[in-house]
């Protein structure tokens, strides 16, 4: 036995191979994070201090002293706070109806609520314009003279835009509940209102806080909706674009980017901090809550869900209809003329988007899944640092990252300048824009795998790479596909980061929608949006079919 054992010992690979593999993979994760997140951010930071007389605070002083500054910052904050309040209240009510009532139609409501995730960010604004704009159906029919452009237009569009994000967080918070608490309260004589105040609300306060900060970040960094429906109402995100694209003033764009980074970054940091302190209140011994029928409450939930989902569908439907009629809202005869795309490179940007999104899906999967595996394996200070850097992009607004990419890669001195103007740089930009979310999906599913599997593999002689290849990755295969789909979908619909990076040769579909709308061609913008949504829908159907064929269920696609 002993001789055989020693013989087996000799047949095993050398221990160095394992270390090398870990170091190699760590480098594969860290170097791109430095090149594509840290360097561009540093570029913006530097640029914001660059003045004709050398480095200094001149740009900041000039911008802060201009009357525009307080106005734009005030606009951004007021829009973001108002939208956040409305969204979180609506999303809480909707999530409550979904999780804590016995209303019918939950499957459909749940799917409809996610619809805005799968549309370009400016579709909400486009739909609102078709409804309430100067030439919208409401003003044309009733001649009410509603002026939607500005504060309320942005708020309404962004409520719909950010709604699914808040809903997903709150739904998860409301999904877990310990029935024993409610039963005890009932036996002690508590009314429904008291139980809501004393049990439900406290147990979901972390979800509420998290949703608040996430929505705030999304709204303050949103670019598409304010561009379409903001009119003269400027916010920080659109101001960066105006400074850089309109006036070629990179220094000022960088200053505003740095200013935008503060609230967005703070919100993300606070949200992560809150979630870390959030101890699981549900234990293995908790009894899951079974929702019983209660006519009044269920009816109220149903009305709430129908109203919210109805409005979400209405906005998307209006965009669909407007794209298929001769001239909205004057001539409602069906027509496919807006789908001829006789301008703007025809349909080429759509194909560009698809290729870029496929590239982003592949790169995104490799980057984030590798990062998640390495972080789990490191399990020390280095792992914590890597975790932080991996979720750092969540704090960086798309406009800021995009501007950073121009500064970093449209520079003959940069060794990566060859990337500029390629599909690849667009894909990479999307990957690192959404790196945190993809990384968290991968990390969550890897952390669900018991460490016993790692240890069993190790004790049987499996190295780090073999354990990944034979055990870890096969177990999370469904999540890996969902990370890919996540990057594909985000890349199809995102606008803010890539707006600075597209060239006439690499124009993507979401940018086309914006340019068409800007040129006053709303109907073609709608048609292009519909094309994007159809591609996304096809990808999702394909994804679901793949999962069903391979026998996977309950895979989270978005978080």
């Amino acid at each position: 036995m002993t001789d055989a054992a020693l013989g087996a010992l000799r047949r095993l690979p050398r221990p160095d191979a394992d270390r090398l593999a870990l170091i190699g993979l760590t480098a594969l994760v860290v170097l791109p994070l430095i090149a594509f997140v840290v360097v561009p951010l540093f570029g913006i930071f530097r640029m914001s201090f660059a003045t004709p007389d050398g480095f200094g605070l001149g740009n900041y002083v000039r911008y802060i002293q201009s009357p525009k500054f307080s106005k734009v910052v005030g606009n951004s904050l007021s829009v973001s706070l108002t939208t956040t309040f409305i969204t979180v209240v609506l999303a809480y009510a909707f999530a409550f109806a979904m999780r804590r009532t016995a209303m019918p139609g939950k499957r459909i409501f749940g799917a409809v609520a996610l619809l805005p995730l799968f549309a370009p960010s400016l579709v909400q604004a486009l739909g609102i314009v078709f409804l309430f704009g100067r030439n919208g159906v409401v003003n044309r029919t009733f001649d009410l003279g509603i002026d939607i452009y500005g504060f309320w237009g942005i708020v309404i569009s962004d409520v719909f835009y950010s709604f699914p994000h808040a809903y997903l967080i709150l739904s998860a918070a409301l999904a877990i509940a310990d029935a024993r608490l409610y039963e005890s309260a009932k036996v002690l004589g508590a009314t429904s209102a008291r139980m809501f105040r004393d049990i439900t609300l406290p147990s979901t306060k972390y979800g509420l806080l998290s949703a608040t900060f996430v929505v705030f970040t999304i709204v303050i960094t949103d670019f598409g909706n304010p561009m379409v429906i903001g009119g003269d109402f400027n916010v920080l995100a659109t101001e960066i674009y105006n400074q850089v694209s309109g006036q070629g003033n990179f220094e000022m764009g960088a200053v505003i980017g740095m200013i935008l980074l503060v609230p967005a970054g703070l919100a993300v940091v606070v949200e992560k901090w809150i979630m870390r302190r959030h101890q699981a209140t549900i234990t293995e011994r908790s009894t899951p809550l079974q929702v019983e029928r209660e006519r009044l409450r269920d009816a109220a939930g149903f009305v709430c869900a129908v109203t919210i989902c109805g409005l979400i569908v209405l906005i998307v439907a209006i965009v669909f209809i407007a794209s298929f009629v001769t001239l909205w809202p004057y001539n409602l005869h069906l027509s496919l003329r807006h789908y001829r795309f006789e301008v703007q490179n025809g349909l080429a940007p759509l194909w560009t988007s698809i290729w870029v999104s496929l590239l982003a899906a592949i790169i995104g999967v490799v980057a984030t899944v590798t990062a998640a595996c390495v972080v789990r394996r490191l399990d020390n200070l280095a792992g914590q640092v890597l975790y932080f850097v991996s979720i750092l992009p969540a704090a960086v607004p798309g406009m800021v990252l995009g501007l950073g990419y121009i500064l970093a890669f449209n520079d003959p001195k940069s060794p990566l300048e060859v990337l500029y103007g390629t599909f690849l740089i667009l894909a990479i930009c999307n990957v690192y824009h959404y790196h945190a979310q993809g990384f968290l999906i991968a990390t969550t599913s890897i952390n669900q795998i018991s460490r016993v599997f790692d240890e069993a593999s190790t004790s049987l002689g499996g190295g780090f790479l073999r354990t990944l290849r034979s055990v870890t990755l096969p177990i999370i295969s469904a999540s890996i596909i969902s990370v890919g789909v996540f990057f594909f979908v985000r890349s199809m619909v995102t606008l803010s980061a890539v707006i600075f990076l597209v060239t006439p040769m690499t124009q993507v579909a979401a940018v086309s929608v914006l340019l068409l709308d800007d040129a006053g061609n709303q109907n073609q913008a709608a048609a292009f949006s519909v094309c994007i949504m159809l591609v996304v829908a096809a990808a999702l159907v394909l994804f679901q079919a793949t999962l069903r064929l391979t026998g996977h269920k309950d895979v989270a696609l978005m978080r």
């Binding site: 055989a4 095993l12 069993a456 004790s459 002689g461 499996g462 034979s470 177990i475």
Partner: protein, 338 residues
């Protein structure tokens, strides 16, 4: 010695999970680490396996230090508590995994897998997946997987504790028979004294990061060195040294402040015929437990538990009983580890 541990210390933050633990294990021996939860037994097993790095101390195999040998190169087989079979692999692939890692040829893997599957009587389950097996079957596959590469030492981390009582009993015998047949050095962690007593050649009783006593089941039961071992293995009545009514020569020293008496060693005396050193008590509880009856006797403020063979319908709570403690049944016990 085949496997020796010297002065192993392992801390988790401020807690010393293992404090200067030394132990020698002979080739082919079956050793159990027994103790309450949190005593450090699992940590010690993981240190031997290489899954934890000790803060101090050394593990030696055949005179060779394992300090620089990572877990995957130690060639130790481990069976975990439960659910350690790779869910994405069939039974046969799970068992062949260690052989794949050792770069065995495909033609050599299949017969070896068949061989160990036969050892655990699961030849007909080769193509199933872990979730299609019962808990007992899963643990037998885990055992086969650990044995397949011909490990130098087999480590079992509470392998039976997640199973139903009946399955547990069957598997105890099966594992012990297999171990005897293969002659493989085996260490098992358990908190179940009956499991340890049934399976182990030697039992290592652990508490709070140190070894309290090492010995066969008989040694530990008949000659516990201290209060912890006495109370952990079997039942023991503990009385302070100054207890009245004991035979004079049973009195001890300050080193051994307690005396212990096993419940079955206490004898009844006829209350009609006075006996020197007899104790008269009131019966508090009388519980019938099948092959014996357990009686709790109140002696003033103290309680004494005794176990009498068979069913004692003549004794009832509230009645009185006279007993004596024979000198040869008295254990002198220290408070802590020697």
């Amino acid at each position: 010695m085949f496997l020796s541990l010297s002065s192993i210390t392992k801390r988790f933050g401020a807690v010393a999970a293992l404090n200067d633990v030394s132990l020698a294990i002979g080739e082919g021996e079956f050793v159990c680490f027994l103790g309450p939860s949190g005593c450090g037994k699992t940590t010690l097993l993981r240190v031997i396996a290489g899954l934890e790095t000790p803060d101090a101390g050394e593990v030696m195999l055949n005179g060779k230090s394992l300090v620089d040998v990572p877990a995957r190169l130690r060639n130790f087989g481990i069976v975990f508590q439960s659910y350690s079979l790779f869910p994405n692999m069939s039974v046969a692939r799970n068992i062949g995994y260690g052989l794949e890692c050792r770069k065995w040829r495909r033609e050599a893997i299949a017969p070896r897998v068949a061989e160990v599957l036969d050892l655990v009587h699961l030849s007909d389950q080769a193509d199933k997946y872990p979730h299609q097996l019962s808990g007992g079957q899963q643990q037998r596959v885990a055992l086969a997987r650990a044995l397949a590469p011909g490990p130098a030492v087999l480590l079992l981390d509470e392998p039976l504790s997640a199973l139903d009582a009946k399955v547990r009993e069957d598997l105890r015998g099966e594992i012990k028979d297999l171990q005897t047949a293969l002659g493989i050095t085996t260490i098992m962690v358990t908190h179940d004294q009956h499991e340890a007593m049934e399976m182990a050649d030697r039992i290592v009783v652990m508490n709070a990061g140190v070894i309290e006593q090492v010995g066969s089941a008989g040694d530990l039961y008949d000659r516990p060195v201290n209060r912890f071992v006495a109370e952990f293995i079997g039942r023991m009545n503990l009385l302070p040294m100054s207890s009245a009514g004991l035979d004079a020569d049973a009195s001890g020293t300050a080193d051994d402040p307690f005396i212990g008496v096993r419940p079955e060693h206490i004898e009844l005396v006829d209350p009609g015929a006075p006996h020197p050193g007899a104790l008269l008590g009131r019966i508090e509880k009388c519980i019938f437990l099948g092959s014996f009856t357990r009686i709790t006797l109140a002696l003033g403020e103290r309680a004494l538990v005794l176990e009498l063979r068979g069913r004692r319908t003549d004794l009832q709570a509230g009645g009185t009983l006279a007993v004596r403690i024979p000198v040869h049944a008295i254990h002198r016990l220290r408070d802590a580890a020697p």
